[in-house]
Amino acid sequence: MFDKKLQVSLYRYNPEEDKFPYMKNYTINKPEKDIMVLDLLHLLKEEDQSISYRRSCREGVCGSDGMNINGKNGLACITPISSVVKRNKIELRPLPGLPVIRDLVVDMTEFYAQYEKIKPFLQNETTAPEQERLQSPEERDKLDGLYECILCACCSTSCPSFWWNPDKFVGPAALLQAYRFLADSRDLKTKERLEALSDPFSVYRCHGIMNCVSVCPKGLNPNKAIGEIKSMLHKNKKDIIVSDGV
């Protein structure tokens, strides 16, 4: 499938030693079978222990190893090198738009601040039933395509609007979660949630560029969720929520 050698160009930056970030080239023996980008990083780390990156579950559930792979954001642990290698070369960079702590590790503070802003928890002040708050199958269906987000930040860091205004624009990941709670029949703070998103930046900085949809490793559609939030903001009614597979 490949030549015998594989070239990996890796973004390197250690603020304690380097004045500026730089790209370092590594050449490794091509693995006999197709491996994931994360495995490739493990191979590199055997050669150079100073390489830093985040990883945890290595199966696309924790969302720790989001990075820019040959120009497109994705999860290293579920991206086979065969799907990204170009001319026997792979370029790995940190997620764009966020401050780099070291090598492929970025500071996610701005991303989490936006997530916190949308209050990602059910708000229902009515007396809780003995067992649980029930939903009809139809009400539950509305959450499909929303709750699966693993907050890897691949979408938000591929969004130019988030690059320019990470402090004001909520970003696709957090907006997907915002709609997850707006669409939840058990949540009773719809009006307050919409009010919090009604300024010109939080939602309306989304210009429908669709990078978020293109890169989401879980195949979700934040852009459609944002469209639903805009519809709700225009009508400010909970009953306009549609659930055709957001």
């Binding site: 130019p160 320019w164 205004n165 009604s198 939080s202």
Partner: protein
């Protein structure tokens, strides 16, 4: 101002401007076009009023677009990618940008009002 109001102004203004263009083009295509027919067309108070409104909407539409561009690209963060000096002057540059557009919009509207009403 609410984001939905700005969003609506921009969308509806573009639709109104588009309708106006269709209306004028239809007039041009359906009538023999000469100085008198064109003058008569614009002598009507309704047409002059609508034309004034349309040009106000064009300027408003453009301002919203440029405000978006300004608050995206003329910020401390974005200019910081180019140079620290520029980033330090981002607020000033943005106000200059908006002021220049406001001045241009004012001159544009003044000229339009003069042409249409005087």
């Amino acid at each position: 101002m609410k984001g939905s109001i700005i969003w609506n102004i921009q969308r509806y203004s573009s639709l109104i401007v588009l309708s106006y263009i269709f209306y004028v083009v239809t007039f041009v295509l359906r009538n023999e076009l000469n100085f008198f027919s064109w003058s008569n067309f614009f002598l009507s108070f309704e047409i002059r009023f609508i034309t004034t409104l349309v040009f106000l909407l064009i300027v408003t539409h453009a301002f919203i677009g440029l405000w978006t561009v300004g608050t995206d690209y003329l910020t401390n963060r974005t200019l910081g990618f180019l140079s620290k000096n520029l980033a330090g002057r981002a607020d000033f540059l943005r106000y200059v940008f908006f002021s220049a557009f406001c001045l241009l919009g004012f001159v544009y509207l003044t000229a339009i009002f003069y042409i249409i009403w005087l």
